[in-house]
Symmetry: C2
Subunit: 750 residues, 2 copies
């Protein structure tokens, strides 16, 4: 059977016990409706000639409807669904699949090219369905990867079993809608779903804050492994959840979390947590405050919940009453946190108490020898040792620990989940991992060499060479450009950009001068731009020891100009000079829909000299009030800002404009003859540190936004931001200075 | 010769007198460098096997360098140049073409797919080059169509001749950078170019304000025809220009203009103007104010200029001292306006005097019998008759007119310009010009029918039918959807949009209900969206007698959501109802770069009922201070706004948010329990009329921006905007009202 027409013909005559076999090859633009009636003894199977040799590509999808159906061995890749699901357990709202099984199927990078257009990959409806041993990896566009839908009665109390699936990496989405599994919605939060989620492996499913979003009642999560996942298993809505025997491995990676409890009668037991560093809503364990008489779509207060017998090794944060604010004012009640073991090598007190904890009973919890907590009872210290068990987990032992800390052999591993025949290898290629290629100076030599380059290659420019680009260089895989030797090569360009980072591209620039003298006489040039189209792949940009000068042919000439629908994991700008520029260094303010999206996760600017820049050096914007994401994270350290922000067309009227940034760390900088840092604090308890900066004839910091974040005065640490008597400035260029505590300000020569 | 390699080989051995002939067929991705040395007697020619049968497509372009070269017969289409020019008269900055000719070449819709990425189509350098009989049509991306470059000495005093070219339609670009011909730049404004521009036909070259931007000295414009062009021949920089014997035909089309004079020693004589309606900078004739001691890139004051013997028939505006403001404070001096003939059927006084005109001598100008002017001398009235001459022009005659008003036989026509072998026919297809196609109710029937539709088709929905879309309908040509019969069909949709207007698409929706009940539970849905990619083609959207309801599954659910880099000629929303919506009706605020771009030219909203809309009904934004464009134009008439703008996520905190709109006409509306109209006036002398609107428990109009535009109080006409005693409201839904002058407010039942 080789095409959809034949499939449909065969399906018409299919009898219980039959198998419908898709022939080897590529099935392009194939939308399959597998609608049939099998029996418990004789199911009808949709499968493939040879596993791994049948791929559904282009605009393809699958709907399953009927009883006792089995789907096995299908691979979806190189395309995306034109509907809202790749695989759906229903034909339409009325006709769904029951008693059916989806097994050993693969959905791999089957992304809508529009990052901000939503779809699901698997939507589960009906009852008594099993979804097992599937390989589901690389979702990068908007939308939860897998959902259990409860929108009609026939899908509730469903007894679905989701087991032994491999959920492969899902990168940071940069907005709400990056969950990997959601069961229910706020609209049906109080319905029973009775779904069992067992022995699944979540491998860096980092889409957003909620790895799993539980939004219905009586679901069970057992023996799942969460490997280096940023976010938590979140009991967002619904009650009577059991979270038992799961493993959370953070390995010290940022923003990794464990379990977050909201709602009533939740049970969290026997879970093992290692190296989780996340804070606030992505702590290793989080029990939230609720909203009194909460509507179902807000935060139902925690009551009657148990958190017992869990183990936390080198985890940084456990929170009670998290999210406490004027609306979420109800602390947890009639709940328990007992017989948990908490060990940490470095951090003494990992507990954050955000509200009244008198409603939580603490019993027989064991802390490591050097650990402490402000919780006054229910904790003892013990001399805990860590021992690796045969599964490779570091297990606390001590004679004070009576219960054996056992991790079930049923726990998910990369090996016992997914399929045996579809590779779980990580194919991403790092910057600077390829070959060195020398490129001669001249016209378009850079353009030509890039066409021949391989991902990860390092392109070496001639010392002191001049490179003119009459065409923009398209970067569609990771590439490095550098001058070897002391005298930087110079790049000039006649198009509106020298480099355009396209989907899949990342860029490292080292020891190169960029000169805007040949750029077109239009507003809106940039040295580097992203694709103007949406990019599903997150990109990285590193700039080190470069010089950007005379970007002045017309107004609004930026160094980096990005587009809506693009997202950088990291932008790092270090040891570089910027001089005589009409625009900004980085304009990361393109997500103006105010629905929680933003353009960069980590932005780092270190040891740069910025002179005569008319725009705001940095424009970083994260609008909306959604709490599903982590960033942006910002560090600005040891830079000199000299005559920055005074351009008439600088609409932000500031040297640095920040809106909704989640972590801000601005230190050791010199601001001379410059406009202010202007920050608007909103959503997600932003952490702000502005310290040890020198202001010389520059505007003072402007802070606005949500007053509740103003309390800690984190931007007023010594030496006082505007206290000129407390630092000294050199007369040289670049400016250098010393704070009175002896620390350096501004550029540090390397 | 069939490919670039063979071309290059042949070129190496080319001798004076040789012809290099491109073989018939498609030359894909062919970048040709025609570098050779001919002689005056024996030029070297690059031509084609058969004219019209050789096309350069994909990423193709041509550079010409050397002496005595002729290029003839090349056609560029279906692609775009990867560099900044399609055809360039130089190899690089140093090596250019001289004494060479580009003739009978075609560049047709050869647009970069990114609307906002710049290129030129023809760049002329060197000296003594002739560019004649070329067909250059359909430029839609950023950048002047043809330039004469003066950036090196070898390109100045160039004696180029640009003649008998056909410049085909260039639609409104919606930002600066839509000029058709530019000679020089502000950087070289005082250099002589000595370029002759003669007998060229400009056919609706409407890119922006400046059809021709003269930016150097001693150029001559003779016998050119400007057919229905929005904008003017502008003497933007440079002196000693001669504009002689040109014809400007407006035919009453909006924004059509004539000649705009800035700088010194300009001569404008013997030009004929018909039916030009443009005002301000696109008047039939405009003499601007200048900046005292102006830098070359601002406005050099007009002195020693002559405007004589020109004819203006049914033109609406002639301005002296235009642009007068605090900066442009220097009125014209030692100039003359004499022996011109001004006839207008309808408008009595077509003169606008924006500053002191004592520096202009007026002599022997003749006005029609019923015309008048406030200029006190130099005008006489005459009983003018119009007679059609053999060329078809309406020529004023009167016994007071001594000079024969002759139009040179050398004047450009569509026939005597361009090539004889490449069609100048207009291929655009209008909405509602195709077949009627009936489509059954059901799932995705609309999606399927559209795949089979032809441009202009009308798709008829079943009366009362229900249409569910599980896929977004892509509109890539003009299509109409309508219900025939009284009971509207209903469209529900499961994707983030029901319709997506793609490049080349336009949409007319009539008598249809849109219901958001099945839309995905994510922020940012819309009923209609544009492509998220850039669109080079302008689109049209008409909505008539439709209903939009319950767009509430999540926040920010808009009716129309557009993307950056898209531009609508017209959006018209009439006789429709909008109820229970979390977002906006039209969010036209995506051009946030503030470089003068915007999303729509004409926006019309008439006779609609809008109830319980959480966002701003309209968000219309035109940022930046560029003066090169005309719109947006806005009309909001006879609507009811009931409970509009109160959503927490309405960042504009208003019912209608306007920024930089050029013409605003808001009248006969009722605002009940609604937020304010909020308008920011900036750039281009915005015209604002807000009158005869009733406010009931609604916020008052908020006006901010540039104070100089506040003088006329145009938003405070009677009945006063907030004077509740002066109108009466019905208790019905939709609300109706009567102003005290008896006129209707709100919805007019049809």
């Amino acid at each position: 059977m080789k095409n959809v027409t034949e499939f449909e013909k065969m399906l018409k005559t299919a009898q219980p016990g039959d198998s419908i076999v898709l022939a080897n090859g590529i099935w392009l633009d194939s939308e399959l409706l597998f609608e049939a009636e099998g029996t418990a003894e004789k199911p009808i199977t949709l499968t493939v000639e040879e596993k791994g040799k049948v791929t559904l590509e282009g605009n393809s999808n699958l709907r399953i409807a009927g009883d006792h159906l089995i789907v096995s061995g299908l691979v979806f890749k190189n395309g995306y669904t034109p509907t809202n699901a790749v695989i759906s357990f229903r034909k339409n709202r009325e006709e769904m699949a029951n008693n059916s099984r989806l097994t050993e199927c693969v959905i791999d990078n089957f992304n809508n090219p529009e990052r901000q257009v939503q779809d699901y990959w698997v939507t589960i409806y009906g009852k008594n369905n099993r979804i097992d041993h599937n390989h589901i990896s690389g979702k990068k566009n908007l939308g939860v990867t897998m959902i259990v839908g409860l929108d009609t009665k026939d899908s509730r109390a469903n007894n679905h079993q989701i087991d032994h699936n491999y959920f492969g990496p899902r990168p940071t989405y940069g907005n709400n809608g990056g969950e990997t599994l959601r069961i229910g919605t706020s609209h049906h939060a109080l319905e029973n779903s009775n779904t069992l989620v067992e022995s699944n492996y979540f491998d860096r499913t980092n889409g957003e804050h909620e790895i799993i979003s539980n939004k219905s009642c009586q679901n069970i999560f057992k023996y799942n492994t969460f490997f280096e996942c940023t976010g938590t298993l979140t009991m967002r809505h619904g009650n009577e959840t059991l979270v038992d025997g799961n493993v959370f491995i953070g390995n010290g990676k940022p923003s990794t979390g464990g379990v977050r409890v909201i709602n009533e009668t939740q049970t969290v037991v026997n879970n093992y947590h290692y190296g989780l560093t996340g804070y606030r809503f992505r702590g290793a364990f989080v029990m939230m405050n609720g909203v009194p008489n909460s509507p179902p779509n807000r935060y139902v207060p925690v009551i009657d919940s148990k958190v017992n017998n869990n183990t936390f090794v080198n985890c940084n944060n456990i929170l009670f009453g998290a999210g406490s604010d004027a609306e979420r004012s109800q602390a947890p009640r009639t709940s328990e946190f007992s017989e948990n073991i908490i060990y940490n090598d470095n951090k003494k007190d990992i507990f954050t108490i955000d509200d009244d904890i008198s409603g939580i009973t603490f019993n027989d919890n064991i802390l490591g020898k050097n650990s402490e907590t402000s919780i006054t009872s229910g904790f003892i210290n013990a001399d805990i040792k860590l021992e690796k068990n045969e599964q490779g987990f570091l297990i606390p032992t001590s004679n004070k620990i009576k219960t054996q800390i056992a991790i079930s052999p049923k726990v998910a591993t990369k090996e016992n989940t997914g399929t045996t025949w579809y590779s779980k290898a990580d194919n991403s290629i790092a910057l600077n991992s390829g070959n060195n290629i020398k490129v001669e100076a001249g016209i378009n030599t850079l353009y030509e060499i890039v066409k021949k380059s391989e991902p990860g290659d390092i392109i070496e420019l001639e010392e002191g060479g001049t490179y003119l680009l009459t065409k923009a260089v398209k970067i569609n895989h990771p590439l490095t450009f550098k001058t070897s030797g002391k005298i930087k090569a110079t790049i000039l360009f006649e198009r509106m950009m020298a480099f355009e980072i396209q989907n899949g591209g990342s860029l490292f620039l080292e020891n190169i001068t960029f000169d805007g003298a040949k750029s077109p006489d239009y507003a809106g040039n940039s040295v580097i731009s992203t694709s103007k189209n949406s990019m599903t792949e997150n990109y990285k940009l590193f700039i080190d020891k470069c010089e950007f000068k005379d970007l002045i042919v017309n107004h609004s000439f930026d160094v980096l100009r990005v587009s809506k629908g693009t997202f950088a994991d990291t932008i790092s700008i270090q040891n570089s000079t910027f001089k005589n520029i009409t625009g900004s260094i980085a304009a990361l303010d393109k997500e103006t829909d105010d629905i929680g999206a933003y353009n960069v996760e980590y932005f780092l600017m270190k040891n740069n000299s910025i002179t005569e820049l008319q725009g705001a050096a940095l424009r970083l914007y994260r609008g909306g009030k959604d709490e599903s994401t982590f960033g942006p994270f910002l560090e600005i350290d040891h830079n000199v800002f000299d005559k920055v922000g005074h351009g008439k067309k600088n609409k932000y009227k500031s040297a640095i404009s920040l809106y909704g940034v989640q972590e801000t760390d601005i230190k050791n900088n010199i601001f001379k003859d410059s406009k202010a840092i202007d920050m608007y604090l909103v959503v997600g308890e932003p952490i702000v540190k502005v310290q040890n900066n020198a202001l010389n004839n520059s505007e003072k910091l402007i802070v606005s936004g949500d007053q509740k974040y103003f309390v800690s005065n984190q931007w007023n640490l010594t030496p006082k931001f505007s206290d000129e008597s407390r630092y000294t400035l050199s007369a040289d260029s670049p400016l250098k200075g010393k704070a009175t505590d002896g620390s350096d300000l501004g550029i540090i020569t390397q």
